[in-house]
């Protein structure tokens, strides 16, 4: 299972990298979002998968799955949401103001 998830995360990373390297604004925003998904899967895998029960002490299980990656991912999910929202608005405001979504055309002035 772990190997599968790691390879899946790796493919997500490839896709995300390719999207981020492209010129369109939306692709970059989507790429950043997908990259986060990949990282979440990676963190999850690093703690071991299905090694114990749900990390709720009320369950009285013999062993619990590692809770620390979960806490990290939870933080990351919320931050990712904030970043995605900001990127999204940045993208559309840029498009509104500059009338282009081509990053190469957005390059600043030479004498800045």
């Amino acid at each position: 299972m772990e190997t599968l998830i790691i390879i899946l995360a790796g493919i997500l990373v490839m896709v995300a990298t390719y999207l981020i390297l492209s010129k369109g604004l939306i692709r970059i925003v989507l790429g950043a979002a997908i990259l986060t998904h990949a990282i979440h899967l990676l963190l999850m895998t690093m703690g071991g998968l299905k090694k114990g029960d749900v990390p709720l002490l009320g369950e009285n299980a013999a062993s619990y799955t590692d809770a620390l990656p979960q806490a990290l991912i939870l933080t990351s999910i919320v931050i990712n949401f904030a970043v995605t929202a900001f990127f999204l608005v940045l993208a559309y405001r840029t498009y509104q103001e500059l009338k282009t979504d081509n990053l190469n055309a957005m390059r600043g002035f030479k004498d800045e």
Binding site: L56, L57, G58, L74, V78, A82, A85, V89
Partner: protein, 140 residues
């Protein structure tokens, strides 16, 4: 932008309350079962989002007339105050404490500063998410 969608609006009226109840449940159960400030806040925010989708923003704003930017800031302030509160008791910043008490009506109740802290988180999340959504939809 006026949307004339009677079915959605009718369902929304009921569903919003279910979502709100869920949000409150998630918020309070967070310390022992899945849930907590983040999820609670997000669910609460999604209730507002649903309202905004079903009705228009002006109507929603009329019904809920507070500025969500202040809600977000208030949340952060609560967290800070909870954190500073622990300094007064000469323990490191943001140390939480808890105690439980017996009540004849509800059985064992746990009282903890975490609840306040989580309330700050939830308020912040609601405030930020709704601020983002409202400012985008007002731009339409």
């Amino acid at each position: 932008m006026k949307i004339n969608d009677v079915i959605l609006q009718a369902i929304t009226k009921i569903v919003v309350f279910i979502i709100l109840t869920l949000a409150v449940y998630l918020f309070f159960s967070g310390h022992h079962t899945p849930g907590g400030g983040f999820v609670g806040g997000l669910v609460l925010a999604s209730a507002f989002v649903l309202l905004c989708l079903a009705y228009d923003v002006e109507t929603v704003q009329k019904g809920i007339p507070f500025d969500f930017k202040y809600v977000a800031a208030l949340g952060a302030l609560i967290m800070l105050i909870v954190g500073l509160g622990s300094i007064v008791f000469d323990v490191p910043f943001l140390s939480q404490s808890f105690t439980s008490m017996e009540s004849s009506l509800f059985g064992k109740i746990e009282i903890s500063t975490v609840t306040l802290f989580e309330a700050g988180v939830a308020l912040s999340v609601v405030g930020v998410v709704v601020t983002i959504i409202l400012s985008i939809s007002k731009d339409v």
